[in-house]
Amino acid sequence: MSMIKKMAEIRYLEQTLLDMFSSGRLFGTTHTCIGQEACACALYSHLDPAKDLIFSHHRCHGHFLAFGGSPEDLLAEVLGKQTGVCAGRGGSQHLCNGAFFSQGVQGQSFPIAVGAAYWKKQRREPGIVVAHLGDGTLGQGIVYESLNMASLLSVPLLVVMENNGMAQSTETIHTTAGSIIERFAAFGIGTDRRKADDPFELESHLKEVVDFVRTGRPFVQVLDTFRLMAHSKGDDDRPAEVVNCAWGEDWLERRRRQGDPAVLEAFREAKNRIDSAMHGLESVPPAKMGAVDVFVPPPAPWLSSSVDIAARPDQSATRVNKLLNSALDHLLETDDSLQILGEDLVDPYGGAFKVTRGLSTKYGDRVMSTPISEAAIVGFANGWSLAGGTAVVEIMFGDFATLAAEQLINQAAKMHFMYNGQVNLAMTVRLVSGGYRGYGATHSQSLEKIFCGIPGLKVVALSRRHDPVRLLAAAVRDPNPVIFVENKTLYSQFPAAEPPLGFTFHECGVANAGSYPPLFYRSSEKTRDAITVVTYGGLTELVETALVELILQEEMDFDYFVLTGLNDRIAPELAASVRKTRRILVVEEGSFPFGIGSEIVAQLAGTAPGLKAARVGALSVPIPGARHLEEDVLPSATRIREAVLALAHQAAASVS
């Protein structure tokens, strides 16, 4: 289709959407690109949907259509129809057709684009990656983290910034200090800025730009343009004379007014196609939720039971960090699409906790030290896995997961479901978590509970009771985003294969495809008088100390569970235990209000009438630095013991 026809189609479609919103026939939101069509059309004449990847933003309809997307599919999506590109799950801002991805948080697809571009470079795949920005996006720090990495790694990435002069309703001059172009140039990336007026002139310029990027280097193209309509729907406070003047200067509108036959014909065709598409969609049924889950089923063979992930006797003389190292070594060896990245991972340093020591020497740049940019690191991993690879990220301190929360919560967690199963993200974020080290408030937390409630993220915790090799391997091979919690106290410890004194190991099955079963130990088969105790991660030793002491002193009995998948559905074995014991204690290292324990107890309450429950966790204050104060705040064997005894003294509700 000619460029003029494509521009007319985009404009007519956007206009149609606005009309429908104002007449109340459309629900939700939209962000039209009327006035900016030339940017998309001139660029996309040089891009190839078969090999190039596009990362767009909220104002994405023009990009989508210019890249070959069908207006019928786009309209169906916006209208919430089953035939929409994402079957109604995405909506206006979240489009995907396999090579085109848009999402609604400013700048957040930028690091993803960098990761995808690095995949193309490392795998020597043809094609380039385009990251679309708006001028308002310059307010996001992620832009600069991403530019930095794109430049350092020299990836085939074209950054196209459409500068329409307005950040939603605020003029760019009030939001953006200094020179826009110098911001990009500062990263040592080639830049160009020009007015997007004549699409044909722009098209020939962008050919040179795209050709340059195809040589394997990043480039930033700033296009000055004008958004003729509101940011979204009728929320335009710009002076009418300014907007009217802009309409007069608009290349397409000028020619329409002048009666340019090609332009008039283009609009006629656009009207026919869009109107008939709208008519046709009237009979298309509304989208249904469908079968696509938040997770992809893992490949076979998956874990067969908890026996697969329990610590093995032959591991009892090797420290956990060394075992994790050998797991990563094995994974790098067997999966050539695996990329490991994080801060200070490369030898001779080998990671702050030495988990990657020796791996960069053995595997070169497949083990990468990154800038101190947690958001960009995780975004990069998202892009790498979106493009087809497997990624493992080390977050040196789990506290910094907050910096990457956007990439985890809004990006990684959502894509599979939001894009209706068209993509999956095989990426694992290793969170080095927990306290008892005196590192203070910002380096000691257990923040995993923040992520447990996010649909689309799996949270898996390693403990001394787990086989670090098999558990990490399972997480990495999981085709879904996995947050892998490694308590930092574990690294120097040895896995514990022998059950705690007085306990025997009981196998737990894999309840649902892709779930991570808990480890279950029982101190007596006579569970009538037992108490169910649940913990995970770095606390097993503390909990076991308390429980064994209570067995020795009081001859109490316990059903003891060490969780693996923290936000998996409740394991049937745990539910069965609680139905018998009717008493449960959950011990977690994170602060206990609104925590893992709260959730487990809430879920179990429905299945075990009269359930008595207690939680032990960190006190609800920031973790102090001083050793004795930290000990007061974090869970202790004494507090666990007291909680068990308090629970024991409450008579379990009798069952009628």
């Binding site: 007085g502 020795l552 009081e554």
Partner: protein, 361 residues
């Protein structure tokens, strides 16, 4: 590394039926230097007594206590290249310590202490609870219905018998003696002498006299040669009320006439009854006679006392129709006497009892 410097000595599986064996004794002692192939200890299964040889050369360390059941695969001891197991590897002493339970609950421990139990009986459990101890006490109660504790004399006697049966190659010969003739003879002697002489006494005295001429029947076996004892000191087995047997000695028994001899026996029987047997009554003796007359059995096949070469036993006469017969049996150490020699001695004793030798005095 630990593997190269210490070798485990474990209870082997000696036959498919036994999951445990009895550790009889340690031949080598803790700390002793042993060579590969040296006998370390003796264990007994339901089928055999087996010598456990050292699997390596070195020092025997941490032998578990003997005289108890041991499980197949259980660690008996280790043979270490050095006398200091902790020298190269500090983990080692833990690994070689005698197996025992890892933990006792407080309630369990209280019960163990109250009953003064040996903790190692729970070594098969990782954690011992009160219920485990209670269960053990129940089994103990069941056993104690039949078993009464042993006093040192009983223990010593038991050990002696065990040693004899395990080390002396026994052989047995019997003769039937016409009971009426002997009874008549014995009651005749008693009537004539006005003394209490029993058939048992008569046998013992006959043996004593016979031994005068039978040096090998009063010999002790040793690898170096037979030790022939010059005197005839005869032991007379006495069944005591507690079920045990003692065999006090009558020294120079051949020098006594039958009345004096039976008087000596009565005296020993009285002492035994009163618990007054003295150490000298119980030491020495180079032949023994035992009698179960009055107990209703017809034959006794006695166990040779260690250090002796022959023992004679007699029991109640077995009556067939009009005739009754005593069964006189000799158990003898086949290393000292062969069958013909023993048979000859037995024959002579029989003849003496039938009065075919002269005197009574």
């Amino acid at each position: 590394m630990a593997e190269s410097t210490t070798t485990r000595v474990e209870v082997p599986r000696l036959n498919t039926n036994d999951d445990s064996a009895f550790l009889i004794e340690w031949v080598a002692s803790a700390g002793q230097k042993v060579k590969q192939g040296d006998v370390l200890c003796v264990i007994e299964t339901s089928k055999a007594t087996v010598e456990i040889e050292s699997p390596a050369s070195g020092f025997l360390l941490s032998p578990v206590p003997a005289q108890r059941e041991v499980k197949v695969g259980e660690l008996l001891a280790v043979v270490s290249a050095s006398l200091q197991p902790g020298g190269s590897d500090a983990m080692e002493p833990e690994a070689v310590s005698a197996p025992q339970a890892t933990g006792f609950t407080q309630k369990a421990l209280a019960l163990v202490n109250r009953h003064n139990l040996d903790k190692t009986v729970f070594r098969h459990l990782a954690l011992v609870r009160e219920a485990d101890v209670a269960e053990y006490l129940r089994t103990l109660d069941e056993k104690s219905a039949q078993v009464t504790p042993l006093n040192p004399v009983q223990l010593r006697a038991a050990r002696v018998l065990t040693r004899s049966k395990q080390t002396v190659p026994h052989s047995y010969l019997s003769r039937f003696l016409p009971a009426d003739a002997i009874d008549e003879l014995v009651s005749g002697i008693a009537g004539k002498e006005g003394a209490m002489v029993s058939v048992s006494d008569w046998l013992a005295w006959s043996v004593a006299r016979e031994l005068r001429n039978r040096p090998k029947a009063r010999a002790t076996w040793s690898e170096q040669g037979l030790v022939i004892h010059p005197d005839v000191s005869l032991c007379v087995a006495i069944n005591q009320s507690d079920g045990t047997v003692v065999a006090p000695v009558i020294r120079n028994a051949d020098s006594l006439d039958v009345v004096a001899f039976s008087g000596a026996i009565r005296k020993l029987q009285m002492k035994s009854l009163r618990g007054r047997l003295e150490p000298e009554d119980l030491s020495g003796g180079n032949c023994t006679v035992t009698s179960l007359i009055g107990s209703g059995v017809h034959q006794v096949i006695p166990i040779i006392y260690p250090g002796q070469s022959i023992i004679f036993g007699i029991a109640d006469a077995w009556r067939i129709g009009e005739n009754g017969y005593y069964t006189l049996t000799a158990s003898f150490d086949h290393r000292v006497l062969n069958g013909a020699e023993a048979g000859e001695i037995l024959g002579s004793v029989a003849e003496r009892m039938l009065g075919k030798h002269e005197e009574h005095g």
